[in-house]
Protein backbone atom coordinates (compact mmCIF):
# COMPACT_ATOMS: atom_id res chain seq x y z
CA UNK A 1 0.00 0.00 0.00
CA UNK A 2 2.70 2.45 1.03
CA UNK A 3 4.97 1.52 -1.86
CA UNK A 4 2.03 1.75 -4.23
CA UNK A 5 1.32 5.31 -3.11
CA UNK A 6 4.96 6.22 -3.51
CA UNK A 7 5.04 4.90 -7.07
CA UNK A 8 1.81 6.68 -8.00
CA UNK A 9 3.00 9.87 -6.38
CA UNK A 10 6.34 9.79 -8.20
CA UNK A 11 4.64 9.25 -11.56
CA UNK A 12 2.27 12.18 -11.23
CA UNK A 13 4.84 14.28 -9.42
CA UNK A 14 7.47 13.94 -12.12
CA UNK A 15 4.99 15.25 -14.72
CA UNK A 16 4.31 18.25 -12.47
CA UNK A 17 8.05 18.66 -12.30
CA UNK A 18 8.43 18.61 -16.09
CA UNK A 19 5.78 21.27 -16.52
CA UNK A 20 7.25 23.23 -13.61
CA UNK A 21 10.60 23.41 -15.45
CA UNK A 22 8.91 25.63 -18.03
CA UNK A 23 7.50 27.96 -15.40
CA UNK A 24 10.78 28.18 -13.57
CA UNK A 25 12.79 28.95 -16.73
CA UNK A 26 10.44 31.69 -17.87
CA UNK A 27 9.95 33.18 -14.42
CA UNK A 28 13.69 33.12 -13.89
CA UNK A 29 14.33 35.19 -16.99
CA UNK A 30 11.26 37.44 -17.22
CA UNK A 31 9.77 37.44 -13.73
CA UNK A 32 6.53 36.51 -15.47
CA UNK A 33 4.08 33.73 -14.69
CA UNK A 34 3.36 32.28 -18.10
CA UNK A 35 -0.30 31.50 -17.54
CA UNK A 36 -0.47 29.97 -21.01
CA UNK A 37 2.05 27.27 -20.08
CA UNK A 38 -0.66 24.80 -19.02
CA UNK A 39 -2.21 25.25 -22.45
CA UNK A 40 1.10 24.54 -24.14
CA UNK A 41 1.21 21.28 -22.23
CA UNK A 42 -2.30 20.57 -23.53
CA UNK A 43 -1.22 21.38 -27.11
CA UNK A 44 1.60 18.84 -26.74
CA UNK A 45 -0.93 16.16 -25.81
CA UNK A 46 -3.23 17.03 -28.72
CA UNK A 47 -0.39 17.08 -31.22
CA UNK A 48 0.46 13.59 -30.02
CA UNK A 49 -3.17 12.55 -30.41
CA UNK A 50 -3.42 13.97 -33.92
CA UNK A 51 -0.25 12.38 -35.17
CA UNK A 52 -0.82 9.01 -33.50
CA UNK A 53 -4.55 8.42 -33.68
CA UNK A 54 -5.52 10.47 -36.72
CA UNK A 55 -2.43 10.33 -38.92
CA UNK A 56 -1.12 6.95 -37.74
CA UNK A 57 2.46 8.16 -37.65
CA UNK A 58 5.13 6.12 -35.90
CA UNK A 59 5.51 6.80 -32.18
CA UNK A 60 8.91 8.50 -32.24
CA UNK A 61 7.91 10.71 -35.10
CA UNK A 62 4.78 11.64 -33.24
CA UNK A 63 6.74 12.61 -30.13
CA UNK A 64 9.02 14.79 -32.24
CA UNK A 65 6.05 16.55 -33.82
CA UNK A 66 4.35 17.05 -30.49
CA UNK A 67 7.50 18.66 -29.06
CA UNK A 68 7.83 20.78 -32.17
CA UNK A 69 4.19 21.85 -31.96
CA UNK A 70 4.45 22.85 -28.33
CA UNK A 71 7.73 24.69 -28.88
CA UNK A 72 6.30 26.62 -31.83
CA UNK A 73 3.25 27.55 -29.80
CA UNK A 74 5.47 28.81 -26.98
CA UNK A 75 7.51 30.84 -29.44
CA UNK A 76 4.42 32.55 -30.86
CA UNK A 77 2.87 33.12 -27.45
CA UNK A 78 5.95 35.08 -26.45
CA UNK A 79 6.02 37.06 -29.69
CA UNK A 80 2.32 37.90 -29.71
CA UNK A 81 1.32 38.33 -26.09
CA UNK A 82 4.45 39.10 -24.08
CA UNK A 83 7.10 40.81 -26.17
CA UNK A 84 4.99 43.82 -27.23
CA UNK A 85 4.22 44.72 -23.61
CA UNK A 86 7.41 43.75 -21.88
CA UNK A 87 7.76 47.26 -20.45
CA UNK A 88 4.17 47.42 -19.19
CA UNK A 89 3.11 46.73 -15.60
CA UNK A 90 3.13 43.22 -14.18
CA UNK A 91 -0.64 43.16 -14.02
CA UNK A 92 -0.98 44.07 -17.70
CA UNK A 93 1.39 41.21 -18.53
CA UNK A 94 -0.62 38.91 -16.29
CA UNK A 95 -3.88 39.77 -18.07
CA UNK A 96 -2.23 39.32 -21.45
CA UNK A 97 -0.99 35.90 -20.35
CA UNK A 98 -4.45 34.94 -19.11
CA UNK A 99 -5.93 36.16 -22.39
CA UNK A 100 -3.47 34.01 -24.30
CA UNK A 101 -4.40 30.94 -22.27
CA UNK A 102 -8.08 31.53 -23.06
CA UNK A 103 -7.23 31.88 -26.75
CA UNK A 104 -5.24 28.63 -26.86
CA UNK A 105 -7.83 26.67 -24.91
CA UNK A 106 -10.61 27.79 -27.23
CA UNK A 107 -8.60 27.24 -30.37
CA UNK A 108 -8.03 23.69 -29.18
CA UNK A 109 -11.74 23.32 -28.50
CA UNK A 110 -12.59 24.52 -32.00
CA UNK A 111 -9.98 22.25 -33.57
CA UNK A 112 -10.57 19.07 -31.57
CA UNK A 113 -13.99 19.55 -29.97
CA UNK A 114 -15.00 19.83 -26.34
CA UNK A 115 -15.32 16.11 -25.60
CA UNK A 116 -12.73 14.06 -23.75
CA UNK A 117 -10.91 11.96 -26.34
CA UNK A 118 -9.28 8.55 -25.88
CA UNK A 119 -5.52 8.60 -26.32
CA UNK A 120 -4.10 5.57 -28.14
CA UNK A 121 -2.10 3.07 -26.12
CA UNK A 122 1.46 3.16 -27.31
CA UNK A 123 3.56 1.29 -24.80
CA UNK A 124 2.43 -2.19 -23.87
CA UNK A 125 0.66 -1.87 -20.57
CA UNK A 126 2.42 -4.80 -18.91
CA UNK A 127 2.16 -4.49 -15.18
CA UNK A 128 5.31 -4.85 -13.17
CA UNK A 129 5.25 -6.21 -9.68
CA UNK A 130 7.51 -5.10 -6.82
CA UNK A 131 6.79 -6.28 -3.29
CA UNK A 132 3.07 -6.32 -3.90
CA UNK A 133 2.90 -2.92 -5.56
CA UNK A 134 1.74 -3.02 -9.17
CA UNK A 135 2.70 -0.45 -11.74
CA UNK A 136 2.81 -0.18 -15.50
CA UNK A 137 5.87 0.14 -17.71
CA UNK A 138 4.81 3.69 -18.36
CA UNK A 139 4.94 4.48 -14.66
CA UNK A 140 8.59 3.54 -14.73
CA UNK A 141 9.25 5.40 -17.97
CA UNK A 142 7.66 8.70 -16.92
CA UNK A 143 9.80 9.50 -13.85
CA UNK A 144 12.97 8.30 -15.61
CA UNK A 145 12.18 10.45 -18.61
CA UNK A 146 11.44 13.47 -16.42
CA UNK A 147 14.60 13.18 -14.39
CA UNK A 148 16.73 12.60 -17.50
CA UNK A 149 15.27 15.70 -19.14
CA UNK A 150 15.89 17.72 -16.00
CA UNK A 151 19.56 16.72 -16.01
CA UNK A 152 19.80 17.47 -19.74
CA UNK A 153 18.31 20.91 -19.18
CA UNK A 154 20.62 21.52 -16.27
CA UNK A 155 23.59 20.58 -18.40
CA UNK A 156 22.41 22.85 -21.17
CA UNK A 157 21.93 25.82 -18.86
CA UNK A 158 25.20 25.15 -17.11
CA UNK A 159 27.53 24.49 -19.98
CA UNK A 160 26.42 25.88 -23.33
CA UNK A 161 26.85 29.41 -24.55
CA UNK A 162 23.11 29.94 -24.75
CA UNK A 163 22.68 28.49 -21.29
CA UNK A 164 25.18 30.90 -19.82
CA UNK A 165 23.38 33.76 -21.56
CA UNK A 166 20.12 32.57 -20.01
CA UNK A 167 21.67 32.66 -16.55
CA UNK A 168 23.16 36.07 -17.21
CA UNK A 169 19.84 37.54 -18.31
CA UNK A 170 18.03 36.05 -15.34
CA UNK A 171 20.57 37.45 -12.90
CA UNK A 172 20.82 40.95 -14.33
CA UNK A 173 19.15 41.74 -17.66
CA UNK A 174 20.71 45.20 -17.97
CA UNK A 175 24.22 44.05 -17.26
CA UNK A 176 23.74 41.13 -19.66
CA UNK A 177 22.68 43.43 -22.48
CA UNK A 178 25.68 45.66 -21.79
CA UNK A 179 27.86 42.61 -22.19
CA UNK A 180 26.42 42.13 -25.66
CA UNK A 181 23.84 39.45 -24.90
CA UNK A 182 20.73 39.83 -27.00
CA UNK A 183 18.06 39.36 -24.38
CA UNK A 184 15.27 38.92 -26.95
CA UNK A 185 17.02 35.91 -28.42
CA UNK A 186 17.58 34.46 -24.96
CA UNK A 187 13.96 34.97 -23.99
CA UNK A 188 12.82 33.38 -27.23
CA UNK A 189 15.07 30.40 -26.58
CA UNK A 190 13.76 30.01 -23.04
CA UNK A 191 10.18 29.96 -24.28
CA UNK A 192 11.02 27.36 -26.90
CA UNK A 193 12.86 25.17 -24.39
CA UNK A 194 10.26 25.44 -21.65
CA UNK A 195 7.43 24.79 -24.09
CA UNK A 196 9.16 21.77 -25.58
CA UNK A 197 9.44 20.24 -22.11
CA UNK A 198 5.78 21.08 -21.47
CA UNK A 199 4.90 19.34 -24.72
CA UNK A 200 6.70 16.16 -23.69
CA UNK A 201 4.93 16.25 -20.36
CA UNK A 202 1.58 16.61 -22.13
CA UNK A 203 2.33 13.59 -24.29
CA UNK A 204 3.46 11.46 -21.32
CA UNK A 205 0.40 12.33 -19.21
CA UNK A 206 -1.91 11.68 -22.15
CA UNK A 207 -0.37 8.23 -22.51
CA UNK A 208 -0.65 7.59 -18.78
CA UNK A 209 -4.30 8.55 -18.37
CA UNK A 210 -5.19 7.49 -21.93
CA UNK A 211 -7.51 10.45 -22.31
CA UNK A 212 -7.20 14.12 -23.20
CA UNK A 213 -9.45 17.15 -23.22
CA UNK A 214 -9.07 20.78 -24.25
CA UNK A 215 -9.16 22.02 -20.64
CA UNK A 216 -6.64 19.51 -19.27
CA UNK A 217 -3.98 22.23 -18.92
CA UNK A 218 -5.73 24.43 -16.39
CA UNK A 219 -5.38 22.52 -13.14
CA UNK A 220 -2.07 20.89 -14.08
CA UNK A 221 -0.75 24.32 -15.03
CA UNK A 222 -1.63 25.78 -11.64
CA UNK A 223 -0.33 22.79 -9.71
CA UNK A 224 2.92 22.77 -11.63
CA UNK A 225 3.39 26.42 -10.95
CA UNK A 226 2.87 25.65 -7.28
CA UNK A 227 5.47 22.89 -7.64
CA UNK A 228 7.90 25.44 -9.06
CA UNK A 229 7.32 27.71 -6.07
CA UNK A 230 7.63 24.83 -3.61
CA UNK A 231 11.01 23.96 -5.02
CA UNK A 232 12.13 27.57 -5.31
CA UNK A 233 11.19 29.36 -8.48
CA UNK A 234 14.11 29.88 -10.81
CA UNK A 235 15.78 26.64 -9.74
CA UNK A 236 15.81 23.68 -12.14
CA UNK A 237 16.37 20.98 -9.52
CA UNK A 238 13.89 22.80 -7.32
CA UNK A 239 11.15 22.50 -9.94
CA UNK A 240 11.60 18.74 -10.10
CA UNK A 241 11.81 18.33 -6.33
CA UNK A 242 8.74 20.53 -5.88
CA UNK A 243 6.87 18.44 -8.43
CA UNK A 244 7.79 15.17 -6.75
CA UNK A 245 6.86 16.48 -3.30
CA UNK A 246 3.51 17.69 -4.56
CA UNK A 247 2.82 14.41 -6.35
CA UNK A 248 3.72 12.34 -3.28
CA UNK A 249 1.71 14.58 -0.96
CA UNK A 250 -1.36 14.27 -3.18
CA UNK A 251 -1.01 10.56 -3.48
CA UNK A 252 -0.71 10.10 0.30
CA UNK A 253 -3.51 12.54 1.05
CA UNK A 254 -5.83 10.77 -1.38
CA UNK A 255 -5.04 7.38 0.14
CA UNK A 256 -4.88 8.15 3.84
CA UNK A 257 -6.98 11.28 4.41
CA UNK A 258 -9.61 11.84 1.79
CA UNK A 259 -9.56 12.09 -1.98
CA UNK A 260 -11.99 15.01 -1.70
CA UNK A 261 -9.37 17.48 -0.55
CA UNK A 262 -6.67 16.35 -2.98
CA UNK A 263 -6.85 19.50 -5.11
CA UNK A 264 -6.96 21.84 -2.12
CA UNK A 265 -3.85 20.21 -0.71
CA UNK A 266 -1.62 21.83 -3.33
CA UNK A 267 -2.85 25.23 -2.24
CA UNK A 268 -2.45 24.52 1.45
CA UNK A 269 1.13 23.41 0.78
CA UNK A 270 1.65 26.56 -1.24
CA UNK A 271 0.41 28.82 1.54
CA UNK A 272 2.57 27.01 4.09
CA UNK A 273 5.68 27.38 1.95
CA UNK A 274 4.94 31.02 1.22
CA UNK A 275 4.54 31.59 4.94
CA UNK A 276 7.62 29.86 6.23
CA UNK A 277 10.04 29.85 3.32
CA UNK A 278 8.81 32.03 0.47
CA UNK A 279 11.98 31.35 -1.48
CA UNK A 280 11.05 27.67 -1.72
CA UNK A 281 13.12 24.65 -0.86
CA UNK A 282 16.07 25.37 -3.14
CA UNK A 283 15.41 29.06 -3.73
CA UNK A 284 18.24 31.52 -3.32
CA UNK A 285 16.93 35.06 -3.53
CA UNK A 286 13.77 35.35 -1.52
CA UNK A 287 11.76 37.73 -3.65
CA UNK A 288 11.80 39.07 -7.12
CA UNK A 289 9.89 42.36 -6.78
CA UNK A 290 6.45 42.77 -8.21
Amino acid sequence: MLLQQIINGLTVGSTYGLVALGYTLIYGVLGLINFAHGEIYMIGAFMGFTTLALANLPFWFSIALSVLGAATTGFFVERIAYRPIRKATKSAQLISALGMSIVLRNLAMLAWGSKTLPFPRVLANDALDIAGARFSVLQAVIPLCAVALMFALNGYIGHTRMGISVRAVSLDPEMASMMGIESNRVIGAVFILGSALGGIAGMLVAMFYASISFDMGVIVGIKSFIAAILGGIGSIHGAMIGGLILGLAESFAAAYISPAYKDALAFVLLLLVLLFKPSGILGVSSEKGG
Binding site: K90, S91, I222, A264, F267, E287
Partner: protein
Protein backbone atom coordinates in the same frame (compact mmCIF):
# COMPACT_ATOMS: atom_id res chain seq x y z
CA UNK B 1 -9.13 80.14 -11.06
CA UNK B 2 -10.84 78.75 -8.03
CA UNK B 3 -14.22 79.85 -9.28
CA UNK B 4 -13.67 78.22 -12.67
CA UNK B 5 -12.60 75.02 -11.07
CA UNK B 6 -15.60 75.05 -8.80
CA UNK B 7 -17.85 75.69 -11.76
CA UNK B 8 -16.34 72.75 -13.66
CA UNK B 9 -16.77 70.53 -10.66
CA UNK B 10 -20.36 71.72 -10.49
CA UNK B 11 -20.90 70.84 -14.15
CA UNK B 12 -19.41 67.44 -13.59
CA UNK B 13 -21.78 66.84 -10.72
CA UNK B 14 -24.76 67.79 -12.86
CA UNK B 15 -23.65 65.38 -15.58
CA UNK B 16 -23.15 62.62 -13.03
CA UNK B 17 -26.56 63.23 -11.49
CA UNK B 18 -28.05 63.11 -14.99
CA UNK B 19 -26.34 59.81 -15.75
CA UNK B 20 -27.47 58.45 -12.41
CA UNK B 21 -31.12 59.27 -13.19
CA UNK B 22 -30.80 57.76 -16.67
CA UNK B 23 -29.25 54.59 -15.25
CA UNK B 24 -31.98 54.34 -12.64
CA UNK B 25 -34.80 54.75 -15.15
CA UNK B 26 -33.39 52.51 -17.89
CA UNK B 27 -35.26 49.32 -16.96
CA UNK B 28 -38.55 51.21 -16.78
CA UNK B 29 -38.07 52.55 -20.29
CA UNK B 30 -36.41 49.53 -21.87
CA UNK B 31 -38.89 46.92 -20.77
CA UNK B 32 -37.05 44.00 -22.32
CA UNK B 33 -36.64 41.28 -19.69
CA UNK B 34 -33.29 40.11 -21.00
CA UNK B 35 -31.79 43.58 -21.03
CA UNK B 36 -32.94 44.09 -17.45
CA UNK B 37 -31.38 40.78 -16.47
CA UNK B 38 -28.09 41.90 -17.99
CA UNK B 39 -28.28 45.16 -16.07
CA UNK B 40 -28.89 43.21 -12.85
CA UNK B 41 -25.85 41.05 -13.51
CA UNK B 42 -23.88 44.18 -14.35
CA UNK B 43 -24.84 45.72 -11.02
CA UNK B 44 -23.49 42.69 -9.15
CA UNK B 45 -20.24 42.82 -11.13
CA UNK B 46 -19.86 46.53 -10.43
CA UNK B 47 -19.93 45.78 -6.70
CA UNK B 48 -17.41 42.97 -7.18
CA UNK B 49 -15.00 44.90 -9.36
CA UNK B 50 -15.24 48.19 -7.48
CA UNK B 51 -14.42 46.22 -4.35
CA UNK B 52 -11.52 44.42 -5.97
CA UNK B 53 -10.23 47.74 -7.30
CA UNK B 54 -9.51 48.79 -3.73
CA UNK B 55 -6.92 46.09 -3.26
CA UNK B 56 -5.71 45.77 -6.86
CA UNK B 57 -5.91 49.38 -7.92
CA UNK B 58 -5.53 51.46 -4.81
CA UNK B 59 -3.32 49.37 -2.56
CA UNK B 60 -1.44 47.67 -5.41
CA UNK B 61 -2.21 44.11 -4.30
CA UNK B 62 -2.64 41.71 -7.21
CA UNK B 63 -5.55 39.64 -5.95
CA UNK B 64 -6.57 36.42 -7.73
CA UNK B 65 -8.95 34.95 -5.17
CA UNK B 66 -11.85 37.39 -5.18
CA UNK B 67 -14.36 34.73 -6.20
CA UNK B 68 -13.71 32.88 -2.94
CA UNK B 69 -15.08 35.83 -0.96
CA UNK B 70 -17.92 36.27 -3.44
CA UNK B 71 -18.83 32.64 -2.81
CA UNK B 72 -18.47 33.03 0.93
CA UNK B 73 -20.99 35.87 0.88
CA UNK B 74 -23.32 33.91 -1.36
CA UNK B 75 -23.24 30.86 0.91
CA UNK B 76 -23.54 32.96 4.07
CA UNK B 77 -26.60 34.71 2.66
CA UNK B 78 -28.14 31.54 1.27
CA UNK B 79 -27.70 29.58 4.49
CA UNK B 80 -29.06 32.39 6.60
CA UNK B 81 -32.23 32.68 4.57
CA UNK B 82 -32.81 28.98 3.95
CA UNK B 83 -31.84 27.49 7.29
CA UNK B 84 -31.22 30.03 10.04
CA UNK B 85 -34.27 32.23 9.45
CA UNK B 86 -36.30 30.30 6.90
CA UNK B 87 -39.71 31.36 5.67
CA UNK B 88 -39.40 35.01 6.56
CA UNK B 89 -38.33 38.02 4.54
CA UNK B 90 -36.05 38.88 7.45
CA UNK B 91 -33.78 36.00 6.47
CA UNK B 92 -32.63 37.85 3.37
CA UNK B 93 -31.77 41.02 5.24
CA UNK B 94 -30.18 39.22 8.17
CA UNK B 95 -27.87 37.56 5.68
CA UNK B 96 -26.24 40.87 4.78
CA UNK B 97 -24.43 41.56 8.06
CA UNK B 98 -23.54 37.88 8.35
CA UNK B 99 -22.03 37.89 4.87
CA UNK B 100 -20.14 41.15 5.38
CA UNK B 101 -18.70 40.15 8.75
CA UNK B 102 -17.64 36.72 7.49
CA UNK B 103 -16.22 38.23 4.31
CA UNK B 104 -14.14 40.78 6.19
CA UNK B 105 -12.96 38.17 8.69
CA UNK B 106 -11.90 35.88 5.86
CA UNK B 107 -10.12 38.83 4.28
CA UNK B 108 -8.20 39.30 7.53
CA UNK B 109 -7.39 35.57 7.65
CA UNK B 110 -5.96 35.80 4.13
CA UNK B 111 -4.14 39.05 4.81
CA UNK B 112 -2.50 38.19 8.10
CA UNK B 113 -0.01 35.73 6.62
CA UNK B 114 0.08 36.74 2.95
CA UNK B 115 0.49 40.51 3.15
CA UNK B 116 4.15 39.98 3.93
CA UNK B 117 4.56 38.59 0.43
CA UNK B 118 5.27 40.69 -2.63
CA UNK B 119 4.10 40.86 -6.20
CA UNK B 120 3.46 37.52 -7.80
CA UNK B 121 3.92 35.64 -4.55
CA UNK B 122 1.00 37.52 -3.08
CA UNK B 123 -1.02 36.90 -6.24
CA UNK B 124 -0.40 33.16 -6.04
CA UNK B 125 -1.22 33.06 -2.33
CA UNK B 126 -4.59 34.71 -2.99
CA UNK B 127 -5.22 32.32 -5.85
CA UNK B 128 -4.55 29.45 -3.45
CA UNK B 129 -6.81 30.91 -0.79
CA UNK B 130 -9.65 31.37 -3.27
CA UNK B 131 -9.31 27.77 -4.40
CA UNK B 132 -9.23 26.53 -0.81
CA UNK B 133 -12.48 28.36 -0.14
CA UNK B 134 -14.04 26.75 -3.20
CA UNK B 135 -12.76 23.39 -2.05
CA UNK B 136 -14.45 23.98 1.32
CA UNK B 137 -17.72 24.83 -0.44
CA UNK B 138 -17.36 21.56 -2.31
CA UNK B 139 -16.39 19.39 0.63
CA UNK B 140 -18.13 20.74 3.75
CA UNK B 141 -21.18 18.86 2.59
CA UNK B 142 -23.15 19.20 5.86
CA UNK B 143 -23.07 22.98 5.60
CA UNK B 144 -22.95 23.63 1.87
CA UNK B 145 -24.44 20.44 0.37
CA UNK B 146 -21.26 20.06 -1.63
CA UNK B 147 -21.47 19.84 -5.42
CA UNK B 148 -25.29 19.85 -5.35
CA UNK B 149 -25.26 23.40 -4.07
CA UNK B 150 -28.05 25.21 -2.26
CA UNK B 151 -31.39 25.27 -4.00
CA UNK B 152 -34.59 27.23 -3.48
CA UNK B 153 -32.98 30.31 -1.98
CA UNK B 154 -35.90 32.69 -1.37
CA UNK B 155 -35.94 35.84 -3.42
CA UNK B 156 -35.28 39.17 -1.71
CA UNK B 157 -38.40 40.61 -0.11
CA UNK B 158 -39.34 43.60 1.93
CA UNK B 159 -42.32 42.47 3.97
CA UNK B 160 -44.55 40.85 1.38
CA UNK B 161 -43.13 42.91 -1.47
CA UNK B 162 -41.06 40.74 -3.79
CA UNK B 163 -37.79 42.27 -5.00
CA UNK B 164 -36.54 39.12 -6.66
CA UNK B 165 -36.71 39.74 -10.38
CA UNK B 166 -36.64 42.16 -13.26
CA UNK B 167 -36.95 45.87 -12.60
CA UNK B 168 -37.68 45.32 -8.92
CA UNK B 169 -34.41 43.56 -8.33
CA UNK B 170 -32.77 46.25 -10.39
CA UNK B 171 -34.01 48.86 -7.90
CA UNK B 172 -32.41 46.87 -5.09
CA UNK B 173 -29.11 46.33 -6.91
CA UNK B 174 -29.05 49.90 -8.06
CA UNK B 175 -29.54 51.16 -4.52
CA UNK B 176 -26.71 48.95 -3.24
CA UNK B 177 -24.40 49.96 -6.10
CA UNK B 178 -25.11 53.63 -5.42
CA UNK B 179 -24.35 53.25 -1.72
CA UNK B 180 -21.20 51.27 -2.44
CA UNK B 181 -19.91 53.79 -4.97
CA UNK B 182 -20.67 56.74 -2.68
CA UNK B 183 -18.89 54.99 0.15
CA UNK B 184 -15.90 54.19 -2.03
CA UNK B 185 -15.76 57.75 -3.34
CA UNK B 186 -15.47 58.99 0.21
CA UNK B 187 -12.93 56.35 1.18
CA UNK B 188 -10.82 57.02 -1.89
CA UNK B 189 -10.78 60.77 -1.37
CA UNK B 190 -10.26 60.59 2.36
CA UNK B 191 -7.48 59.50 4.67
CA UNK B 192 -7.66 55.87 3.59
CA UNK B 193 -7.30 56.84 -0.04
CA UNK B 194 -4.16 58.82 0.64
CA UNK B 195 -2.67 56.00 2.68
CA UNK B 196 -3.35 53.53 -0.10
CA UNK B 197 -1.91 55.81 -2.72
CA UNK B 198 1.21 56.31 -0.64
CA UNK B 199 1.60 52.56 -0.17
CA UNK B 200 1.10 51.85 -3.85
CA UNK B 201 3.55 54.49 -5.06
CA UNK B 202 6.37 53.66 -2.69
CA UNK B 203 6.00 51.39 0.28
CA UNK B 204 9.25 52.36 1.92
CA UNK B 205 8.63 56.09 1.65
CA UNK B 206 5.09 55.59 2.97
CA UNK B 207 6.50 53.75 5.95
CA UNK B 208 9.00 56.51 6.61
CA UNK B 209 6.20 59.06 6.44
CA UNK B 210 4.46 57.21 9.25
CA UNK B 211 1.88 55.22 7.28
CA UNK B 212 1.19 51.85 8.81
CA UNK B 213 1.65 49.93 5.56
CA UNK B 214 0.41 46.62 6.90
CA UNK B 215 -2.76 48.14 8.34
CA UNK B 216 -3.47 50.07 5.14
CA UNK B 217 -3.17 46.92 3.05
CA UNK B 218 -5.17 44.93 5.57
CA UNK B 219 -8.06 47.39 5.42
CA UNK B 220 -7.95 47.38 1.64
CA UNK B 221 -8.18 43.59 1.61
CA UNK B 222 -10.93 43.47 4.24
CA UNK B 223 -13.07 46.09 2.50
CA UNK B 224 -12.59 44.32 -0.84
CA UNK B 225 -13.63 41.04 0.72
CA UNK B 226 -16.61 42.56 2.52
CA UNK B 227 -17.89 44.03 -0.75
CA UNK B 228 -17.37 40.73 -2.56
CA UNK B 229 -19.54 39.15 0.13
CA UNK B 230 -22.25 41.77 -0.45
CA UNK B 231 -22.22 40.92 -4.15
CA UNK B 232 -22.46 37.22 -3.30
CA UNK B 233 -25.39 37.83 -0.96
CA UNK B 234 -27.29 39.62 -3.76
CA UNK B 235 -26.33 37.04 -6.37
CA UNK B 236 -27.48 34.04 -4.31
CA UNK B 237 -30.94 35.52 -3.76
CA UNK B 238 -31.20 36.70 -7.35
CA UNK B 239 -30.48 33.36 -9.01
CA UNK B 240 -31.94 31.27 -6.13
CA UNK B 241 -29.50 28.42 -6.74
CA UNK B 242 -25.77 28.40 -6.10
CA UNK B 243 -23.07 25.76 -6.28
CA UNK B 244 -19.28 25.83 -5.97
CA UNK B 245 -18.68 26.08 -9.72
CA UNK B 246 -20.13 29.61 -9.68
CA UNK B 247 -17.12 30.76 -7.69
CA UNK B 248 -14.17 29.31 -9.55
CA UNK B 249 -10.84 30.82 -10.47
CA UNK B 250 -12.32 31.88 -13.83
CA UNK B 251 -14.69 34.14 -11.96
CA UNK B 252 -11.82 35.75 -10.04
CA UNK B 253 -9.99 36.29 -13.31
CA UNK B 254 -13.05 37.78 -14.97
CA UNK B 255 -13.45 40.34 -12.19
CA UNK B 256 -9.73 41.12 -12.22
CA UNK B 257 -9.95 41.69 -15.98
CA UNK B 258 -12.82 44.11 -15.42
CA UNK B 259 -10.71 46.14 -13.02
CA UNK B 260 -7.60 46.18 -15.19
CA UNK B 261 -9.38 46.69 -18.52
CA UNK B 262 -11.38 49.58 -17.12
CA UNK B 263 -8.36 51.16 -15.50
CA UNK B 264 -7.19 50.05 -12.10
CA UNK B 265 -6.94 52.66 -9.40
CA UNK B 266 -9.39 54.93 -11.17
CA UNK B 267 -12.85 55.47 -9.75
CA UNK B 268 -14.88 54.72 -12.88
CA UNK B 269 -12.55 52.10 -14.33
CA UNK B 270 -14.21 49.11 -12.66
CA UNK B 271 -17.67 50.33 -13.70
CA UNK B 272 -16.57 50.70 -17.32
CA UNK B 273 -14.64 47.41 -17.24
CA UNK B 274 -17.68 45.58 -15.86
CA UNK B 275 -19.92 47.08 -18.52
CA UNK B 276 -17.46 46.05 -21.25
CA UNK B 277 -17.06 42.49 -20.06
CA UNK B 278 -20.73 41.89 -19.29
CA UNK B 279 -22.01 43.41 -22.52
CA UNK B 280 -19.19 42.48 -24.93
CA UNK B 281 -19.83 38.72 -24.83
CA UNK B 282 -23.50 39.47 -25.51
CA UNK B 283 -22.58 41.27 -28.71
CA UNK B 284 -20.73 38.13 -29.72
CA UNK B 285 -23.71 35.88 -29.09
CA UNK B 286 -24.35 35.35 -32.84
CA UNK B 287 -20.90 33.75 -33.07
CA UNK B 288 -21.30 31.78 -29.86
CA UNK B 289 -18.64 29.25 -30.84
CA UNK B 290 -15.99 31.91 -31.14
CA UNK B 291 -17.11 33.98 -28.18
CA UNK B 292 -14.44 33.06 -25.68
CA UNK B 293 -11.78 33.06 -28.35
CA UNK B 294 -12.60 36.64 -29.29
CA UNK B 295 -12.73 37.54 -25.60
CA UNK B 296 -9.21 36.19 -25.11
CA UNK B 297 -7.90 37.99 -28.19
CA UNK B 298 -9.52 41.20 -26.95
CA UNK B 299 -7.69 40.89 -23.63
CA UNK B 300 -4.33 40.45 -25.34
CA UNK B 301 -4.93 43.30 -27.80
CA UNK B 302 -6.25 45.69 -25.16
CA UNK B 303 -3.23 45.09 -22.97
CA UNK B 304 -0.96 45.81 -25.94
CA UNK B 305 -2.82 49.00 -26.85
CA UNK B 306 -3.82 50.32 -23.45
CA UNK B 307 -1.97 48.47 -20.68
CA UNK B 308 -3.33 50.90 -18.09
CA UNK B 309 -6.94 50.26 -19.06
CA UNK B 310 -9.61 52.21 -20.87
CA UNK B 311 -9.72 55.20 -18.50
CA UNK B 312 -6.21 54.75 -17.10
CA UNK B 313 -3.93 57.72 -17.41
CA UNK B 314 -0.37 56.51 -17.04
Amino acid sequence: MGAIRRERAGNKLVVLAGLWVVAMLTPFVVRDGYVIHLLNVLGIYVILSAGLNISVGLAGLLHLGHAGFYGLGAYAGAITSTRVIPGSWLGFWAGLPVAVVLGMLAGAVLGAPSLRLRGHYFAIATLGFGEIMRSLMLNLVEITQGPFGIKAIPSPRLGSFDLGSGARFYCLVFAVVTLVLLGLWNLQHGRFGRFWQAVREDEVVAQVMGVNVFAAKMWALMISSGLAAVAGWLYAHYVSYINPSNFSLDESILVLCMVILGGRGTFWGPVIGSALLVLFPELLRPIAELRLLVYGVALVVLMAVRPEGVVGTK
